[in-house]
Every structure is written in structure tokens, then in C-alpha cells.
Symmetry: C2
């Protein structure tokens, strides 16, 4: 079968070695004679998987277990849209609206309390991310936290960098976690659905600075929405997504073996390859503003519909899948998560160049 | 490697053919050239998996898609403890307390409104389930619903049967769903964490009678806790647990191929084998009342601690795993979910008889 180049936006590609080891574990988990699917989450073997995954997350982020707590929860990043305000919004919270996922986070926060939208990206069609200095100036003493979405999959924008804020910084890092080098200590709470650069769909990573927990709201309603309950239960308040957590551990080990600096270098190289091809083309046009372009999700369009059709069939012939843009933006989106090879990007660049030269 | 007899309480054993096909899908999902872990949940292939799983659930329950709606959600049965009252408790709700999981459901419901506990099993150590006739008599016109836990894993009790109630009947069927023949139309809402007789941990099945939805509370706070939102989004409000749902489909197909009547016959045969061995023994003693004994989780003790030690080492020698009782009950618990073979039960019975005859 022809090799597939999977540019899908997520659940997305993971390294082949992770797929192999995960498949093996479904038949025989670490030589136990049992499937990973039939072991108790309270078994010694799985508790050790869980602990390794949590400590590898901190290691990759260069954070200490004394200052930060790691959870693997249910519910996807979408449940975090509710959990963050339920746990931390007591007066008012500041949000930046940089796209669909920010908006969803804002909607849920509004159900808890006052939400101040310090930046509204809808004004210029979500083509950029806000200026951090302006955000900082808009923060007020009554804000419990500032919430940002680090990368916007649908529009293909990404904050180029982060810095400390006078208020706790909460980030939805679902689509670019572990894809570049960051000072993770800048953030007070990081959450990320696993299904991009962490592991399979079905678990959500949450990393909380312990200091931030001092701001916990006293009125959290349900146990499953209560960070403190999850922390006390060491992230096993109820049965976790055993397979998703184990496969995440396999991928975290792969990440460590590569090193985040090497991962960052590769992602930058892949993004440069594709952006250069788009920028040098007269037919293809990038969607996002250059200074806020995402290295994970590259959005572009083709104005000429017959060229577009030709491009699509060439992609199909080359084994390129998952490149259709989100309906809100149209055109194309090449998602280039950590495990996507340079070869896949080169294949796409060739197709772009071939489309261009034969138009 | 010696065959393992996995009597674990869950996540638990699934049929070997399900493990094999699930492992295969991690490498190459239905000849797509892609892993099940890297496909979009919006892809045609996965949407079809999802639809098949939902319609197989209804088929196995002999329910119509016109009268019932099936969801696969995040959060485990524990999130349902909150979602049920959040969506349906407007005046008062009736609960029967038959053990730890009922209690947890009661705790969460109390955060929403008035909870009337019609039966409190703690009085006699959770050795039985309530009489349905007495429950019916205690129900009041102001009750929005009655909540029952069909099988209690920790204590090893199970309702021997169900009947219609004058109020909507909500059941936590996590540990005995699809294990016996039931008139599923008796229930207005069924929920079950997948990790026993459905599939791997990481997804939760919810089946709602559409009529019951007319009773929905108007004040549901968060989107992810709102059944109506999940129904509108056809259970894809956010990225589902793709692998867990796919593996559940594999298991549902296996269930259909066996037939629920055959599954019920086997489970009854397995339970009879083990209960007879316990009842005929002078050393082993069953925990639950005979008329409310569970066919899924068989709890028993050994008074003599040196015999107990000998029994444990014989179990280990025979490859029997997961038989330790819950700390609240002590002793032993043999969980005998659908995929556990009669051979495994016979092995355990042999060990019991051998322990008995060599004491």
C-alpha cells in the first residue's frame, strides 16, 4: 500500500514506533500475558505507567514536581473550558478571543462569572494573535486570570512567544504543546487534549502551578470538575483512559529521546519549507498574518477553482490526506504535528510546485 | 507463557478476537493505511464506526432509534452521577443506596437538589438489594426519577429483576450491562462506563428514552454536561475517545454474534459453578445474600488465615489474577465478565476444591 502523508488536524499522526508498541500492548502489555485493555488501573504496572507519564511531562517542561502538579483527566479540552472558570473564576476573568476554541472557552466561562474580552480577533477575521504588551496593559487587578489559546488550529495562527503576566496565565495548549521550546514556568495552568502531540484521543493533560491552587474557588459544584479532588486522588478519582495514557507515555518517551530542541528545529524546518513554497507561489496564498503564522497548522487557499481541483487530485495521487481546510476558513490546512516527517512536507511542496508550474 | 485467568473487577477481560482486531487497527485501521489513533473523528470511516456502534447498542437492547438515543461520552460513569441530576433533578429525586457507587451518585445529586434515599443498604452491610415493591410504594409524585445501581461490584450484589415504575427509572448499569437478558425498555436512562462488558476504559455509554427528555431541566450550566447538546451534535460535541469507541464496536459485534441469550446462559452457568463450590465448602463463605447475589462479581471470604494464604498461592500458581476483594469487604472477589471463559471458572473451582480437601 502507498505510504500515506497524514496532514490531518487531529486526532493526528504519532511516531510509527509508538503505534507499534501500542498495538503490541493490546495483545500483551509489557510481557504480562494480559492486554493493556484488561488490566486494572490500580494495578502496580499501570500505576507505574501513570507516574512515569506524569513525571516525564514535568521533565519535558523543565518543571519540578514540588512546584507543579500533573493530571490526566477525562472530557477533552472542552471540559477544561468549564473546569478552569469553575475552579478559578471568583471575580472576573480576562480572555483573548483568537478563534473558535477561544470562543468556546469564553462561552463556558460566562456561565460562571464576569468575562472581559481583552482582544477580539473576529474584527480582522482571526488572522493574527494579540500583542502581549497590549494584553498586559489591559489586565486589571480584579482579574483572576488571563486565558489564551496558544495555537489556533482552524485559522492557523500561533503566538510567536510568551512572557510573564502580572496575573495568572492559563493556556489551552492543545494543538502545539511539546512542539517548540517554551519556558513552561510562565504558565500557571496548561491544559491540552491529548490527540495532537501527546497521544490518542481520550485523555486530557492538565499541569497546574501549585501556587495557583491557593486561588481556588470555594464553590466548585461537582466532584469531577474539582481539580483539588483529582489532585488528592492522584489523577485516579475515577478510572482513567488507560490505553490513551499508556500510549501517551510511549509518545512522551519518544519526545524525550528526540529532545524538545530537536523537535522544535524539525518543526521550524518543516514549516519554513511549506511557507516558502506558498509565499513563492502566485496561485497559493497563506491565510494568517506572517508574524503570527502557526508552525502546526498551515492554512492557505487557491483562488482559481480549476487549479484547486487539480491540486486536490494531485494530493490524492501522492497519498496526501487530511488537507481540507475547516469550513470556517475554506481552502486547505496542512497540519504538521511532531510525528509528520519532513518527507511528507517535501511531497506536499512538490505537489504545490508541480501545480504551479503546470497551471 | 502460562495462560492468565483474569478475574479483575475492571477494566476487565474482553474476547481475544477483540484484542486482536483492536491491535491490528492501531497499525492499520480497516486497510486504510492509517492507524485508528491518527484518523479524524469526523472522517467518513470513523463516523460510520460511531453510527454502527450506536445502532448495535439499540439492536442488542431491542430498542428503536425512534424512541431512544445513544451517546458515547467522556468522563466515566462518575460524570453521569453529576449529569443525571444536572439534567433531570428539578424537584426531588429518589435513590437507593446499595453500595459505594450508589453513594457517589447520591453525593453528586445532593449538590443539585433534594435527594430522598428510599433504601439504605448500609444498615445490613450492603448484603442485598431492595425489594422493588417496597421501592415502588415509597416513590412520591414529586420525584423526578428513581436511580438504581443494577449491580454492585464491591459487595457482589445484583437486582435479580426489574419492572416498570410510575416514575422514570435511571440506572447505572456499568458492571452488568449486556451480561443477561433484560427488558431494556423498562429504563428511561441507562448509563455504563465502558470498561466492563462494553469495551476499554475511556468512554461511557448513555441510552436515553426520548420521552424522558421532555423532563429536561432548563438550568443546565455547562455544555459538556448537557445531554441535549450531545444529542444535537450526534455524540460528537467534542472529540470522542476514538479507539475506545472502535474497540467497543468490535465487542458489540462479538456480543451480537454470540447472542445475549447465549451470553446470559454462559454467565449463569459460570456463576452457578462458582457459587456451588463456595456453598458446598466449609472454609469458603459467600458474602452477599443468596437471593441478591451477583452473577458478575462473586464475593467470598475464608475465615482461616493460613488456609487463605494457601488459597492465594494456589491461585497464583494456576495463573489466576485479580481476585483480591475490595478493601471495604476484604476476602476475595471473582469478577466474571462476559469474556471470561468457563475454563477460567473451572480452574478457580478446582483451586477452591483442592484448598478445601488439603486443609
Amino acid at each position: 500500500m502507498m505510504k500515506k502523508h497524514n496532514f490531518g488536524a487531529g486526532p493526528c499522526i504519532l511516531p510509527p514506533s509508538v503505534f507499534e508498541k501500542a498495538a503490541e500492548s493490546v495483545l500483551n502489555f509489557e510481557e504480562s500475558g494480559l492486554s493493556i485493555l484488561e488490566i486494572s488501573h490500580r494495578s502496580e504496572a499501570f500505576v507505574s505507567v501513570f507516574e512515569s507519564a506524569r513525571s516525564l511531562v514535568l521533565e519535558l517542561m523543565e518543571l519540578s514536581p514540588n512546584s507543579h502538579t500533573v493530571l490526566f483527566l477525562h472530557g477533552g479540552a472542552s471540559l477544561q473550558f468549564s473546569m478552569v472558570p469553575e475552579n478559578f473564576l471568583t471575580r472576573a476573568a480576562a480572555y483573548a478571543n483568537t478563534g473558535v476554541w477561544s470562543q468556546k472557552a469564553i462561552e463556558e466561562a460566562k456561565k460562571v462569572g464576569i468575562v472581559d474580552i481583552l482582544y477580539d480577533g473576529s474584527i480582522d477575521g482571526y488572522k493574527k494573535t494579540p500583542d502581549l504588551k497590549l494584553l498586559k496593559e489591559s489586565l486589571q487587578s480584579g482579574h483572576d486570570y488571563l486565558h489564551l489559546t496558544t495555537n489556533n488550529t482552524i485559522y492557523g495562527t500561533q503566538y510567536p512567544s510568551f512572557e510573564s503576566f502580572p496575573k495568572p496565565l492559563v493556556v489551552d495548549m492543545s494543538s502545539d504543546i511539546f512542539s517548540c521550546q517554551r519556558s513552561y514556568e510562565t504558565f500557571d495552568l496548561i491544559y491540552a487534549g491529548a490527540q495532537k502531540n501527546i497521544g490518542p484521543a481520550g485523555t486530557t493533560l492538565v499541569v497546574i502551578k501549585n501556587e495557583f491552587l491557593e486561588q481556588l474557588s470555594p464553590r466548585i459544584k461537582f466532584s469531577l470538575l474539582d481539580y483539588q479532588k483529582h489532585i488528592k486522588a492522584e489523577s485516579m478519582y475515577n478510572t482513567p483512559s488507560v490505553f490513551a495514557v499508556y500510549t501517551s507515555l510511549l509518545n512522551l518517551k519518544w519526545l524525550k529521546a528526540q529532545g524538545l530542541s530537536e523537535i522544535a528545529r524539525r518543526n521550524s524546518e518543516k514549516a519554513t519549507l511549506l511557507y516558502e513554497a506558498i509565499d513563492h507561489s502566485d496561485l497559493f496564498e497563506g491565510f494568517a498574518d506572517k508574524k503570527n503564522r502557526s508552525q502546526m497548522n498551515i492554512t492557505f487557499t487557491i483562488a482559481n477553482s480549476s487549479v484547486a481541483k487539480r491540486f486536490e487530485s494531485l494530493c490524492e495521487e501522492a497519498g496526501i490526506v487530511g488537507i481540507k481546510g475547516h469550513r470556517l476558513v475554506g481552502g486547505y490546512r496542512a497540519s504538521m504535528y511532531n510525528a509528520l516527517s519532513k518527507e511528507s512536507v517535501e511531497t506536499l511542496v512538490e505537489v504545490i510546485k508541480y501545480t504551479e508550474s503546470n497551471a
